[in-house]
Each structure stands twice: as C-alpha cells, then as structure tokens.
C-alpha cells in the first residue's frame, strides 16, 4: 500500500486473511499510518521510504487506513476469508479462477453507501471454461463522495 501525492495508492486493496502488506512512503513528506478498525489496529510511527516491516492482516474485515499528519488521506484494505476474491478494473470487470458451482457473491466499494447485506447474491458458474457473468444493478446505489486531490500546504 504505497503513499504518493498525499494519497494511498491503490486506494483500495483486497487481500486474503494472513496476507502481509508493505506500506512504502514514496512522498517527499513523512507519514504516520494508522488504523483503529476492529479487523486490525496498528500504527507506523513517522517514516519515509520503506522503514517499517510489512503488516500482517490476520482477521477478516474492513481496515480503514489514515495518516495522523494528513487527515485527508484515507485508504481501505478489505481483508477477506473468501476462497476467491479480486478487485474490479476501471470497467468493472473482474477475473477469478474458480471452478463451476454455486457461489455467494459480495461486492464492496468505499463509494457505495448501501448496507453490505443488499450487495450480496447467489450466482451459478457453469462448467464451461471462461464463463462470464454479468451482474446488473437493479437500482442506483447511494454514492459517497470520492476524495479530491489536495494541496499539500493548504489547511483543510
């Protein structure tokens, strides 16, 4: 989970339980990364570059990242115990290497304000290779505002 231009890059990371994540700071300013989410509480004292060892995420759940110096920096690590998971690309496409069967599919985005229970559905994957599924939203979701680029020396 990189830090560039006062932002976490990528803004969203999805990992399996037990994954270790590096937090290199490639900004010219120092950061103090923390999370007080129940799934993982940790603090990385003031640093630049790759000073700290990777952090292991050993519990499923959403981990919201912040920087104690730059309030505007928010990042998300979605830690999951699901056997298959991935992050969509800009077109909303995702590839998973799962076999045929019935699956429970859950979607999550920091910009969707709807409750998680409404974003879950059962899907059937057929035996043919390269099966493609299209999930169509039945109504508009409640959007949360996306962060904007900030000026480093302004007070927000």
């Amino acid at each position: 989970m990189d830090q560039r231009n006062l932002a976490f890059v990528p803004q969203v990371l999805v990992v399996g339980v037990g994954t270790s994540v590096d937090f290199p700071n490639n900004d010219t300013v120092s950061h103090q990364v923390y999370s007080f989410s129940p799934a993982k509480r940790f603090q990385l004292p003031l640093y630049k570059g790759a000073l700290h060892p990777p952090v292991t995420f050993d519990k499923a759940g959403l981990v919201v990242l912040g920087c104690n110096i730059h309030d505007q920096m928010v990042g998300y690590i979605y830690v999951t115990d699901a056997p298959f998971y991935a992050k969509t690309d800009a077109q909303g496409t995702v590839h998973m290497n799962n076999g045929p069967g019935d699956y429970l599919l859950t979607i999550w985005s920091p910009y969707i304000a709807d409750p998680a229970a409404t974003l879950t559905q059962t899907v059937h994957v057929g035996a043919a290779e390269g099966t493609s599924l299209k999930i169509q939203l039945t109504r508009d979701l409640h959007a949360r505002p996306e962060p904007r680029p900030r000026r480093a020396d302004w007070e927000y």
Partner: protein, 403 residues
Amino acid sequence: MRRVCAVALLSATLWSSVGLAQDRFSMVGEIDLRWVEASGPTSYLYGGLGLLRFDSEHEGLRLGYAMLAPQFRINDILSAHVVADAYDDHDRNFVDLSEAYLQARPFPTGSIRWSAKAGAFYMPVSLENRGPGWTDVYSITPSALNTWIGEEFRTIGTEFEARWLGASHGYLGDVALVAAVYGWNEPAGGLIAERGFGMTDRPSTLFGGLGMPPMEFYHQVDHNPGYYAGLTWRHHDILEVRALHYDNRADPSAMTSTATAWRTRFSTMGARLEPNAAWTFIVQYIDGNTTWGPNAYFDEQFQMNYRTAFALTSYEWQRERFSLRFDDFQTSQVSGFYGPPSDEVGHAWTFGWMHDLGAGWRLAAEWIRATSRFPQRIEYDESSGLVESQVQLAIKYRFHWGV
C-alpha cells in the same frame, strides 16, 4: 583553541542531529512584492482613518510581506511550529513572530482523535486564510471579518480539539469540538472601537503593534483567563461549517501602564461549500460587543456592538483563480459618548485574480472598493462618508525546504 574545539564539536553534533532528523524539519517561506494604486485618505496603519492597507501617500512598489514558517517534528506526537513575518510599515520590529506553538496529535485509537496546541496561534475562525502562515488563498486581502481576527486576536494559551473521524467510516462527515483557554489578549477590541472594521492583509505580530501610535494587543492586563468554544462539521471535501463563541472575560476597568483591557465577546458562524474542484462559496458572519472603562458611572463606560458578514465566490480554472467577495460591516456605539459616535456603516466589493506561474511563483491582482460612513472622521476635518479604492498587483514566490 579549546573554545574553538568545543564550538567545532558542538556544531558537528548539531549538524549530525539535524542530519539524522532531516525529514523531521521542514520550512515554508513566501515573499510578496506588489505595486499599489490607492485613492483613499491616510490608512489607519499610517495614523489616519482609512480602512484599507495603502493610501494615496503610500502606494507604488511595496513589500506585501515576507514570511518564514519552520516546523519541527519532535516525535510522533509533538511538533513545534513558528511563523515569522516581515512588514515594512514601520512596526517596532521589521521581523516579528505571528505564531509560535507546540502541537500534540496522538495516534487515534478509536474514532475520536484528540489534539492540543499550546503557545500563540490563530483561533480557528477564518474560512479564507488556509495558506501557510495564515495567508488568504482566494485573494490578497481577506474579508473585514477575518482582517479583524488577524489584527486583534491571537490565542496565547492552550486549545483542545476532539474530532470524531466519521467520514472515513461511512458517516456524513467529521465533527470536531474545539475549546481554548488563554490570556494576554485583553486589549482585543480597542482597534475596532477606534477605527471600526478595516480590510487589510496586515495581521498583527506578537511583539509589534498596528497603526500610529501603534496599538498593541498581546498584554496581560488582568488575570482573568478568556475562552472560546466551537463546533465544526466537515462533510468530506465538500462542506465545512463552523460556529464559535469567544469571550476574553477581561475586566473592562483594568489597566496597566502600557495597556487597557476591553471585554470583548462575539459569536461567529460560517460555511464553505466546494461542490467540485473548481468552485468555492463561503459565507461567514460575526456578531458581538466590546466594553471599556469602569462600570461605576454607567454612562461613562464605552460600549459598542459590531457585526459583519461576507459572501465569497471563487472559481479555479487551470492556472487561474477568480474570486468575488461582498463585505458588509457595521459598528454602533451604545454608551460612553465623548465625541462623535464610533458608528461605522460600510460595505465593500473585492475582485481578485491569481495566476500560477509554476515553480513556486504566482501573480495576484486585486481591486477593492470600500464605501463607509464613520462620524469620527469629522474630528479630523474629513467628511464622515468615504469611498476608498485600491488596486494591487503582487508577485509572490513560495519555497518549501526540508520536507
């Protein structure tokens, strides 16, 4: 020789500690030079009753300001901040401090983040002065409201903030409660009583004064601590709403050989809306009163009410920023008349343009037209009604070092 060795050793030690901690020390500096055309009578900064920073006798090439703001991260929680300013309007000190404080920001361990400041610093009122060293980011001159905040007020004490970090957890935004206890600000209120509201980008410094003879604002006159308390709601990067109540709790009859106390209270509320990256809208108002003199003879006690509000709209497009602001201000004396009442009624239009030249250089141009009526001007054989205008063209250079 021993002394030389000791000095050499000391500088080597200092150098190595600075070297080790190079990412802890940072500094931002800015210099602002400008060309001014002004039509008004003598500015209050030069002993007159004009409301603007410059006047027809003080125009041409001027130093807007020079500012240097170093900060040092002592450890993960504590940081030290200093802002030094220089102005060329014959203040006692050409270079002086406007802020010097320690800030503590522990890591949040829950959804509430505590932080504290101790020292001398601006109170969190202005929605315009977001730049380093409390500079205005929308135009050259801040509103009448924030001009006054910069002129007469500095918290010399301790401020606590509890911020509920709701926005990052899916709620409607962050909510912050702020409260401060301070001293050394009992003279605050004297300038607005004498002059009314003004519009300048010349805040006071901690050890200097404003005007001729200079009025000073940072003295301990009585020993009553003052306070302010406020509430902020920030909805992502879109909306910021602030409310704050200030009371310096000064004893209006207190005085020392160098300063007198003014009991000054106000409430202020404001909102800044940034619906997208280009547009900004700000509205803010302040309403309060100030009292001076002993209370034994009620009629002799000077009492004044004041209020001001402004509305600003700003549009940023590529390297350009255009801002338009309307200010409305009024003071009205209630008691303690010895001459013409200290009643000021006025309004002002400000149009600002800023152009980012890149590599730290910016151009700024600003036109202000202020219309006001102030009966005290009659005592100086001037008409009480006045229209002042001022055009400024500034070149600004900002640098960052060490971060």
